[in-house]
């Protein structure tokens, strides 16, 4: 059915590099999302403006955000570099950037955790051949202890002040965007990055940490919703359901359930990549959604992950339902409207579905080789695009 057109990543491509770097950042955060959600729920429930204000339980909020979450990130980052030993020194070193910090030190944890593990890895390589038999445990434990301790001191002295500057500068930049009502334009970058599988990198690597810093001060943040809004994807899929190529329509209802209710946004990326002009629909939907969030002063208490409407509902602070749901609905409506227009309200479906079927023979699977040569992909796209010059 859908061999149509997907831009492929090439081995040396910048995109693959960015994806990989973003993958590391997101990879430190994503395994710990459960802890973020626990923090978000505790905050929403027990802070003075929450559902069930309680001083005793509210004492949980600060240690989790300033200590536990950065240490988990540093631990995970260390583990990615050097297994369990890397994880341990990563966690120890992260405490160095955490102590004395008034803001959550996610960025510092993302730097220092893997760095400490890397140093230990190099030292392990050095000592491995030089350690006398029977002294392995002694050497291993003390190299890890010394390196972890040293990097924690280095964190307090050298890294924390720098990270504090960078984090507050980034925070100020976001404040500036919000203050000048420019935040909706973030969609111009976010939506294309998303469908190129940079969604986790953008959300968990960049927006999430900034959002947490904001949520600590204001009890909620709009930044959690910039990338994770399920509205734009829903709009694109609905447009496909009604006006897309006929061969693709039967697969769309299941995709909608998985995307909107299950929160796995990846499911709609191929639908955009097949008809790249639909990125305009998701940009328009995303921007409209962010605009609505801004006007209504909406925010969430923690990262909604996965970006499902249920996660949105669970992490909406008290009294915030209207803005949150309005933003999702507006985003879906706008991206549906733009997407439908870009699909010619179904008028083009006949000619396009033929084009799609014609190409269905030459499958998309390539074993151990770069997928579908660009040249054929280009040939497929052109006849489909020809009948609709008015849309260019």
């Amino acid at each position: 059915m859908a061999t149509a057109y997907t831009p492929t990543v090439t081995g040396t491509g910048i995109k693959a590099h960015i994806q990989r770097l973003g993958g590391y950042l997101a990879g430190m955060v994503m395994p710990n999302i459960g802890a973020f959600i626990a923090w978000g729920l505790i905050t929403a429930l027990f802070i003075p403006t929450g559902w069930l204000p309680d001083k005793q339980f509210a004492a949980l909020v600060d240690p989790i955000i300033t200590l536990l979450l950065p240490v988990l990130i540093g631990y995970t980052g260390g583990r990615m570099v050097h297994g369990q030993r890397g994880a341990v020194v990563g966690a120890v070193a992260t405490v160095g950037v955490v102590v004395g910090a008034k803001i959550p030190m996610f960025l510092g944890a993302m730097i220092l955790g893997p760095l400490a593990a890397y140093v230990l890895k190099k030292v392990d390589e050095f000592t491995a051949d030089r350690t006398k038999s029977g002294f392995e445990m002694l050497v291993d434990n003390f190299t890890a202890g010394i390196i972890g301790g040293a990097l924690a001191v280095f964190g307090v002295w050298g890294v924390a002040p720098i990270v504090r500057q960078v984090t507050s500068a980034a925070g100020n930049g976001v404040e500036w965007l919000i203050h000048h009502h420019l935040l909706p334009f973030a969609s111009v970058l976010i939506e294309p990055a998303k469908v190129l599988f940079l969604n986790n990198a953008v959300n968990h690597g960049v927006l999430g940490p900034l959002g947490v810093a904001e949520a600590v001060n204001h009890g909620k943040s709009i930044l959690f919703m910039l990338e994770s809004n399920p509205g734009p994807g829903l709009g694109v899929l609905l447009a496909y359901l009604l006006f897309g190529p006929k061969a693709l329509r039967p697969s769309v209802p299941a995709a909608i359930v998985i995307q909107f209710l299950g929160g796995i946004h990846e499911i709609y990326f191929p639908y955009v990549l097949m008809k790249p002009r639909l990125i305009l629909a998701s940009i328009a939907g995303g921007a409209a959604g962010i605009g609505t969030f801004m006007i209504t002063g909406a925010g969430l208490v923690a990262t909604p992950s996965p970006g499902s409407i249920f996660a949105y509902a669970a992490e909406t602070p008290k009294g915030g339902w209207f803005g949150v749901f309005a933003g999702v609905i507006v985003a879906a409506a706008v991206s549906f409207a733009v997407g439908s227009a870009l699909l010619g309200f179904g008028r083009l479906a006949e000619s396009e579905s033929e084009a799609v079927e014609e190409t269905a023979e030459d499958g998309s699977a390539v074993v151990n080789e770069e997928p579908a040569p660009e040249s054929t992909a280009g040939d497929v796209e052109r006849p489909a695009a020809r009948p609709e010059p008015q849309e260019a």
Binding site: T8, V9, G23, F197, A255, G262, P270, S364, N368
Partner: protein, 99 residues
């Protein structure tokens, strides 16, 4: 390579937590009768003993960098992609996997 030689099938995605879990559970159901282990991992850490890797075409280059010696099947859509269907059939019937 032949479908009956596949003992371990890895579905990879960016984080190894979202779309790959979904596709892996689908494939596990479809391949329940075959002696194939279906697992999901982040695309950066595909295990060395994988016989075949399934991932989205957009992540193909990273899968190749992560597992250079393993056959990689890339697909375009998450539901009912012909490449994935062919792989499942090849494993079930013990026929050649070579699209």
């Amino acid at each position: 390579m032949n479908g009956k030689d596949v003992k371990k099938l890895i579905v990879a995605c960016d984080a190894g937590m979202g779309s790959s879990v979904m596709l892996a559970s689908q494939l596990r159901k479809e391949l329940r009768k075959s002696a194939v282990t279906v697992e999901h991992t982040p695309v950066n850490s595909i295990p060395g003993d994988a016989d075949v890797v399934v991932c989205h075409a957009g992540l193909g280059a990273r899968a190749k960098a992560s597992a250079p010696d393993t056959p990689i099947i890339t697909f375009q859509v998450f539901l009912g992609d012909p490449a994935v269907t062919r792989l499942v059939n090849a494993i079930k019937n013990g026929s050649e996997i070579n699209a």
